[in-house]
């Protein structure tokens, strides 16, 4: 709300300044219609805004002036000098009050009635002197530097600055690269680092300048929901969450229409009439929740309602009736694919076309609008329980998350928002068929048309389909197709620049961007490309193929931990080498030369995945990895999730620190190459081989009581089936020792010493046991 208020103050102040001249001119010539209109507009706007902010006094004043002026405009009243001074006094008073609001002070006391009375048609007309002095006593003192000051700037100016800052960042990256290549002089390194961090903060500031809280958008929603639900005879409550999330101003504007449309749908189709809700055992009043949160470089806006949900069967019937699908195809459609139908062009689920929605402008337009700004829309629904629509939008317009691909000698960018899957032709999950001149892929039970990017680009040699990588792209219309490329290189954030006309006319590219290494590349215009090849037709349906007779043998599922790295990327680490996840205070992190070290639990370990001690936070998350011999830590900004690793790890050529990339919930995640990590840093790792101790694994006491004690004492506990040599073996009572061990430790069940085994230790003699172990360890070392 504070932001809105600041805007109100800024706007009112600006208008006041603008009409200052008008006021003077109007005073000189009260018959001047143009001036009169300008002043009328001012009080009218102020009145409207006051109602919104609940400033009853301001509202009363502006209302009085407005009605007086409208009477003058309608010719019912003459602009007498009394009326003119009355209006001017009101405007002065508005100015005072706005200043007071801005400074957070109480509004100047009293005198309103006098002003209002002066504007009454038959009111006594106090002489203007009295009114003037009234205005002046209203503390029209300068409150110059009080409170937060704000200025309004043309967006164009901000854009120019943003472009400048983006360019600076690119120039910095290039400089950094050259410095690296030439082996940077330490004398240069420090000032460069400083420059670099200053630039980062300038960039952050510049980005924030364009940011606005979602509140600005949310503020208008309750009113809209109220009006709509009244119109449709429904009772709906709206719950807003995440108004403090910031988004690019222009992005907010781009989200406004789609969000409005989704809300309309929710009220019109989702929320049931009160009687129906009661019958279904729900609260009479429906609830719509709009929540926003930021994840990485994107904002997710979720609109959920507790209405009737989307009936999948009806959706299928509709699709068949609309000729989008055949009967058989509809029946075979999975849940997700069926829900996806609501994004099909010209599809409306409403039975009756109401005044509010269902006028042919459907979810396809919503999806198109969101994808145009590099976002995406998904929907999930449970019949009888409600529907959730998710809008994913990037933080800014000019930076597009993407993937670089290589075909022939060309490197091209693909925007992330279209990519649904990446697979290599060597993967067994994919089969390639040439039919006519076309290429078709069968993948996950779908037959997907495929374009050879080399052919699309008219290159000399086609892509070798035997070794190709296929990038699956989903268009706004829902059409799926694949592009065959030679290699997938890397994830990049593209700072897009528009194309000159000569290149735009080619109709394949959507902009240029510079890669981190300074190489310019072109971004492919995916929809244009699809259209050119006839792949984006309304009503085109994905053909379903039969389930293969035998399912491939499932390898044991591997899991990865997905986390956000300090370079801002989303990364994954295989579960196997992860020993522990530590929260490490930054005070325990040290930079030594070019390497980072951290102290966890008394051990000093190399810390990878981070270049500098972070200044902006107090702790970091560190994943402790071990290959059995060496240990090291990998820094993470935040842990995202643990997921099952699919079979399709796509190798990346651009970044050798990564094993490849995988898709996790629609996002590209770089898989950290642990082998290389240990090859690179393992040598520096402190060897931490723990002493081992063998226990009789079959014995319940040994595994239940002894093993934890041994582990606590720093031993790796081995069962007797384990072939590894043990530093010490524990033997209970009279049983024979198992496999070879450095030393045998005999425990007895009874407290009194045994004659048969004089060196045995009573099994609950903790101190004796530990000192015996320590002795063993010392001897072994």
């Amino acid at each position: 709300m504070d932001d809105l208020l600041a805007d109100f103050v800024a706007e009112t102040r600006e208008m006041l300044q603008a009409i200052e001249g008008e006021i003077v001119a109007w005073e000189a010539d009260p018959a001047d219609r143009e001036r009169l209109d300008a002043i009328f507009r001012f009080v009218h706007t102020v009145k409207g805004n006051c109602g919104f902010f609940d400033f009853p006094r301001l509202e009363k004043l502006s209302h009085a002036a407005e009605s007086a002026l409208s009477e003058v405009r309608a010719g019912q009243r003459k602009a007498s000098s009394g009326l003119v001074s009355g209006v001017l006094a009101v405007i002065d008073r508005i100015g005072d009050m706005v200043e007071a609001i801005d400074a957070g002070e109480p509004l100047p006391e009293g005198g309103d009635e006098l002003l209002v009375a002066a504007l009454e048609p038959n009111g006594e007309e106090p002489d203007s002197e009295a009114l003037r002095s009234e205005g002046e006593t209203g503390q029209r003192t300068a409150r110059a530097a009080s409170g937060t000051r704000s200025i309004r700037l043309p967006v164009e100016l901000l854009d120019r600055m943003m472009v400048g800052v983006s360019d600076m960042v690119l120039a910095r990256n290039e400089l950094a690269r050259r410095l690296r290549e030439q082996g940077a002089d330490p004398a240069l390194e420090a000032p460069f680092e400083r420059l670099s961090s200053i630039l980062d903060s300038v960039r952050e500031g510049a980005t924030r300048m364009r940011m606005q809280r979602l509140e600005h958008l949310f503020g208008t929603l309750p009113r809209m929901v109220r009006d709509l639900s009244a119109e449709l005879g429904k009772q709906v409550m709206i719950d807003l969450d995440g108004g403090d999330v910031e988004l690019d101003r222009e992005m907010i504007e781009s989200v406004r229409d789609p969000l409005t449309h989704i809300l309309r749908n929710a009220i019109d189709h989702g929320i049931e009439p009160p009687s129906e809700r009661i019958a279904a055992g729900k609260r009479e009043i429906g609830t719509i929740t709009v929540s926003a949160r930021r994840t990485g470089n994107r904002i997710v806006v979720a609109v959920s309602d507790d209405g009737r949900g989307i009936a999948l069967d009806r959706l299928r019937e509709k699709a068949v009736a609309a000729g989008i699908l055949g009967q058989a195809e509809a029946a075979a459609l999975g849940e997700e694919a069926t829900l996806d139908l609501i994004f099909a062009p010209g599809f409306s689920t409403a039975d009756a076309v109401s005044q509010v929605s269902g006028r042919g402008v459907g979810m396809d337009v919503v999806r198109a609008n969101i994808e145009r700004i590099g976002g995406s829309v998904t929907v999930s629904s449970k019949a009888g329980q409600g529907t959730i629509v998710y809008l994913y939008v990037p933080l800014t317009l000019s930076i597009v998350e993407g993937l670089t691909v290589r075909v022939g000698e060309h490197t091209l960018g693909l925007p992330r928002s279209y990519i649904v899957e990446i697979a290599r032709s060597v993967s067994r999950a994919i089969s390639v068929d040439r039919l006519g001149d076309g290429i078709f892929l069968t993948f996950r039970d779908q037959r997907v048309p495929c374009l050879d990017l080399a052919e699309v680009l008219d290159l000399d040699a086609p892509v070798d389909l035997e070794r190709a990588t296929f990038v699956f792209l989903r268009l706004v219309s829902g059409d799926l197709f694949a592009l065959a490329v030679d290699r997938v290189l890397d994830n990049e954030d593209f700072v897009l620049k528009p194309l000159p006309p000569a290149l735009e006319e080619i109709g394949l590219f959507g902009g240029t961007a510079l890669l981190d290494d300074g190489q310019p590349i072109l971004k492919l215009d995916v929809p244009a490309l699809a259209e050119r090849h006839g792949l984006a037709g309304p009503g085109r349906v994905r053909a379903k193929v039969e389930e293969p007779a035998q399912a491939p043998i499932q390898a044991q599922a591997q899991h990865i931990v997905v986390f956000e790295g300090f370079d801002g990327r989303r990364l994954g680490l295989r579960m196997q080498p992860i020993r522990h996840i530590h929260t490490v205070p930054v005070s325990a992190i040290e930079r030594t030369g070019s390497a980072m070290l951290a102290n966890v639990d008394g051990a000093i370990l190399p810390l990878t995945g981070i270049d500098a001690v972070p200044q902006e936070r107090e702790t970091i998350i560190a994943l402790r990895l071990s290959d059995g011999e060496a240990e090291l830590l990998h820094a993470a900004r935040a842990i995202v999730d643990t997921v099952e690793l699919g079979e399709d790890v796509v190798p990346l050529d651009g970044d050798d620190a990564l094993e490849g990339s995988v898709l996790v919930e629609g996002r590209i995640v770089g898989l950290v190459d642990t082998h290389r990590l240990f090859a690179r840093h393992g040598r520096r790792a402190v060897t931490t081989r723990r002493p081992t101790c063998r226990i009789p694994a079959g014995d319940a006491w040994a595994t239940g009581f002894l093993a934890p004690l041994l582990q606590g004492a720093g031993y790796d506990v081995l069962g007797d089936g384990d072939p590894r040599p043990a530093d010490v073996a524990v033997v209970l009572d009279e049983s024979a020792p198992g496999a070879a061990a450095g030393r045998i430790l005999r425990l007895r069940s009874r407290p009194e010493p045994s004659n048969d085994a004089p060196d045995s230790i009573y099994r609950y003699d903790r101190d004796g046991l530990l000192s015996a172990l320590a002795g063993t360890h010392a001897k072994g070392a």
Partner: protein
């Protein structure tokens, strides 16, 4: 005409650009070719932190074969918010124009006359003054 002129050679002939039209002169680095681009677009190249479109002025004006000089310098012009680097045979000199611009006759040939503003005398001899916007979009206009 008192303007300063940047004197170049394109397709073996003297060609002049008004100094005010030229934003800078750069050393051309690697040119990344653009698939399916018209043949007068040599590709894109990076200038500092932005991508420039490289226009092969030689080809537009009918030169055949490779460049005959090893001059990597290229004038950069701004048209309608986009920056272009022009491929020329060589960048020769900056000279002052002498006298007024005189119209060119039909004998210049269609390619040259499509992107010529006129003829000018300079201390280094006569030269054609190039119409930069026409040069950038020239071949298409001619085709249309």
């Amino acid at each position: 005409m008192d303007d300063l002129l940047l004197l170049t050679r394109i397709a073996g002939r003297p060609a002049a650009f008004r100094a005010v039209d030229v934003r800078s002169i750069i050393e051309l680095g690697t040119i990344t070719p653009v698939p399916r681009a018209p043949d007068f677009v040599a590709g894109i190249t990076a200038l500092r932190s932005r991508a420039l479109t490289v226009i092969d002025a030689r080809r537009i004006l009918g030169a055949r074969g490779g460049r005959d000089s090893a001059d990597d310098r290229s004038p950069v012009v701004d048209i309608a918010g986009h920056s272009y680097a022009l491929l020329v045979d060589k960048v020769a000199d900056v000279v002052a124009g002498v006298g007024a611009l005189s119209p060119v006759g039909p004998t210049l040939g269609p390619r040259w006359s499509a992107c010529a503003q006129g003829m000018i005398e300079t201390a280094a001899g006569p030269a054609i003054v190039m119409d930069v916007p026409a040069l950038i979009t020239g071949p298409q206009k001619a085709a249309a």
